[in-house]
Symmetry: C2
């Protein structure tokens, strides 16, 4: 048992190191990860990597899950650091954490929210870590005293939202989940634009720009 766990431990360390090197490569080179380059960086031959990951896609999946976890944890930690009654603070902290993490890990962020990788279909393992941020936003909107009126939610959309609320076993009026989704969409839309350099020559004060728009969304979500 302890012997088997010794083997298992060095194996898991090898897993970690491969992912570490792959992340570095990804950060330096951009989206297309080369197994042979990773192997070279480790002083190893490419085929040896197949002892640890059955394919390049499997390695990518591992990186994606780690990235979702990293992003989700950053958001959760930032949000948890604020007093529970500071709804707007918790909201902005979540948004800032997402932006900060994305700017610090652009390649990994691109893996998550950019073009889907060609032959790659996201396995089921990725859906839980992927939904951390939206759940966080929904939880904050749930506590808002009242949300500003807006156009009525169409019935078909209401059905979808109802189902989502039921699945997550939460208790949240559809209007509020709708606002949370709106904010979520906007948050990642804006981070996308910034990380993918779509704002480079347009907006220079990007931090203020981001904060400003997230404030508009906080208003729209009824956060005091």
């Amino acid at each position: 048992m302890s012997a088997s766990s010794l083997r298992a431990r060095v194996r898991s360390e090898m897993h970690q190191e491969i992912k570490e090197v792959a992340r570095r490569r990804l950060a330096e080179e951009g989206a297309n990860l080369s197994l042979r380059a990773v192997a070279r960086d480790m002083g190893i031959v490419a085929s040896a990597l197949y002892r640890y990951f059955p394919s390049r896609d499997a390695l990518l999946t591992a990186l994606i899950i780690d990235a979702y976890d990293g992003l989700g944890d950053a958001a959760v930690d930032a949000e948890a650091a604020l007093p529970r009654d500071d709804l707007r603070g918790r909201w902005l902290a979540t948004c800032h954490a997402v932006r900060t993490w994305a700017l610090a890990h652009p390649a990994e962020y691109g893996l998550l929210y950019g073009n889907p990788v060609p032959g790659y279909a996201a396995p089921q393992d990725t859906v839980a870590p992927a939904s951390k941020v939206i759940l966080l936003l929904a939880a904050i909107v749930a506590e808002a005293p009242a949300i500003p009126a807006g156009p009525p939610v169409p019935p078909a959309v209401r059905t979808d939202l109802r189902r989502l609320v039921d699945e997550q076993a939460g208790d949240l009026p559809e209007e509020r989940l709708d606002r949370a989704l709106l904010a979520w969409t906007h948050l990642f839309g804006q981070v996308n634009f910034e990380v993918f350099h779509r704002l480079d020559d347009m907006i220079h004060a990007r931090a203020e720009y981001f904060e400003h728009h997230m404030t508009v969304l906080a208003d729209l979500a009824g956060l005091p």
Copy 2:
């Protein structure tokens, strides 16, 4: 002259056909375009393509410019079809045109708004066609009778917006450009999520969902 234009014409037809085949390949296979596959589809050897495009990146750039033009034209045409005084109609038509085009050309859309291609830096030729949609949105917001109050635009952001307005030789209060940018960000954020299959198991009534959120944004932009 007419002789030289004969060579030039068949050359330009060849250009067109290569792009056509490449688009087909892109639509079927996904983001990573293979020159050799394109050549095979044309019954030609890969190196022959280099007579027409100096590199794979150059071909990609040509596809990207075409795509920006296609998307921009779709938006402009849809917007132009509505009476000038129907501000909200023009707004929604623009949004719908963008969504429809993106869903009809997912791979090309991914080229535009997904992960930046690895070694590829967008040349200057792409900035003009890329800004058609935001200019359209800004023009509509410019005609709104009044925009609803919101948080003040921070000074640094105001400076950026002022500069943008000056460059485009328009005449538009910063608050309005800010709302146009907000809507623009949201529009592409939402289309991104839908095209990249991030809403697949979440929202089934995606058309209504889209319309609903674009309506919220129209309100935010003060469109009657």
